[in-house]
């Protein structure tokens, strides 16, 4: 029995909400009395919260590169890649053009003035900067000069939907026709979605060199400064805070997520455990 005073704090990518909730449920079963507080945010925002002094025992982010850029070695010692995913275009059955959109005509569908689409905030959420990378790669892949700028100009302002999970909610309420999401989010919410060619959807390490050509500038950890990010295959990672008060319990959570039970949960949630 764990004393009531013990509260494990987890900060996680919004896209991992269901995964974390399911793992928390299992961990509490194994440790009756344990309290766990979870907070889902855009992963870049999450890492910056730690930098600003907020304390969490476990950090699960949608981009493994955030650990090296912002958290290692001061706040986190080691971190582990545990899942992959791909970027897709989610929509609702009532979205304009939803009966006609395909993997071949998605650019023209989204650029139709009657259609609206959204992405998340690239300064807060990896899904936001990954979407910009997908547009850059699509411009090269389809040989359509100006595609990136046209998509940026036509997209709903990114500040309205800070993280990708907000986009999914906007799809449900009909505020947005299409949104760039992780396929796992679309699967979990049972939203229909269009898959993109693997050469542009940031899913496959075989195309790492091609993805690397995509470049996005985001706010760095130093206020007023920016940092350049290159495209990479999507990888989710988890790490423990160096100053966790409950390192053994925190490690139990990581073991659970990266073990057979975690594998099943990740698969049920549409992610690819790795």
């Amino acid at each position: 029995m764990i004393g009531n005073q013990k509260t494990l704090k987890i900060i996680h990518a919004g896209a991992l909400q269901r995964v974390v909730e399911n793992c928390v449920e299992l961990l509490i079963k194994q440790n009756p009395g344990l309290k766990i507080k979870i907070l889902g945010v855009g992963s870049r925002e999450g890492a910056k919260r730690l930098l600003s002094g907020e304390h969490y025992d476990i950090i699960a982010l949608a981009d493994q590169a955030l650990f090296a850029e912002l958290l290692v070695p001061d706040l986190v010692e080691n971190y582990f890649v545990f899942a992959t995913d791909q970027l897709v275009i989610g929509y609702d059955r009532s979205s304009r053009g939803s009966k006609e959109i395909t993997q071949d005509n998605w650019v023209d569908t989204l650029l139709d003035p009657q259609v609206n689409f959204a992405r998340s905030d690239h300064d807060l959420d990896p899904c936001g900067y990954r979407t910009l990378m997908v547009w850059q790669l699509a411009e090269k892949f389809y040989g359509r000069t100006g595609l990136y700028e046209a998509m940026e100009a036509a997209c709903i302002p990114y500040s309205i939907h800070p993280k990708s999970l907000d986009l999914a909610k906007a799809l449900f309420t009909g505020k947005v026709d299409y949104a760039f999401l992780y396929s796992s989010e679309a699967e979990q919410l049972e939203l229909p979605y269009i898959t993109l060619p693997s050469k542009i959807n940031l899913s496959n390490p075989a195309y790492a060199n091609f993805y690397d050509q995509a470049v996005v500038t985001v706010e760095s950890k130093i206020p007023g400064k920016s940092v350049i990010l290159h495209g990479k295959p999507i990888e989710f990672a988890i790490g423990l805070s160096k100053d966790s008060q409950y390192p053994e319990l925190a490690q139990s959570f990581v073991d659970l997520l990266t073990g057979s039970e975690g594998y099943s949960i990740l698969e049920e949630c549409g992610l690819i455990p790795c």
Binding site: N78, P205, E235, P273
Partner: protein, 133 residues
């Protein structure tokens, strides 16, 4: 067979059938994590199709469960920690069985191609015989 039918025919050959042999061979050459394996597999001249990450990881887990490979988390020295896979003695045996199977398939395909060439030749000879006055 038109192009569409040929495409459907090719799609009917499941990549899962040979990807395990390909992964076992790559892991026999050197232990690797999934990210690296996908890159090595796509760079190999024996790959049977584009290896998507879901297929690779699903097969790695299956073979890990079956004892053909084993894995452990490896802490990254300058990057992220990843699950590292390596071949087991059972995996090496499985690779030998796969190799024998593929050799048999190769022999059967060669027999098929030879028989087909004979068939084409006989058709040509028949056509030539018909054309003679």
């Amino acid at each position: 067979m038109d192009e569409e039918m040929i495409s459907k025919f090719e799609l009917a050959i499941p990549i899962d059938r040979t990807i395990q042999a390909e992964l076992l061979l790559l892991l026999g050459q050197q232990p690797s994590h999934g990210y690296e394996l996908i890159q090595r597999l796509n760079g190999a001249d024996f790959k049977s199709g584009e290896a998507d990450p879901a297929t690779v990881y699903r097969n790695l887990r299956r073979m890990d469960k079956d004892g053909l490979i084993k894995s452990h988390w490896e802490v990254g020295e300058s990057g992220p920690g990843r699950r590292l896979y390596e071949l087991t003695p059972q995996g090496l045996e499985a690779l030998k069985v796969w190799t024998n199977y593929l050799a048999e398939q190769k022999a059967k395909l060669e027999n098929f191609l030879n028989t087909y060439l004979h068939f084409v030749k006989s058709q040509l000879e028949m056509d030539e015989g018909r054309d003679k006055p």
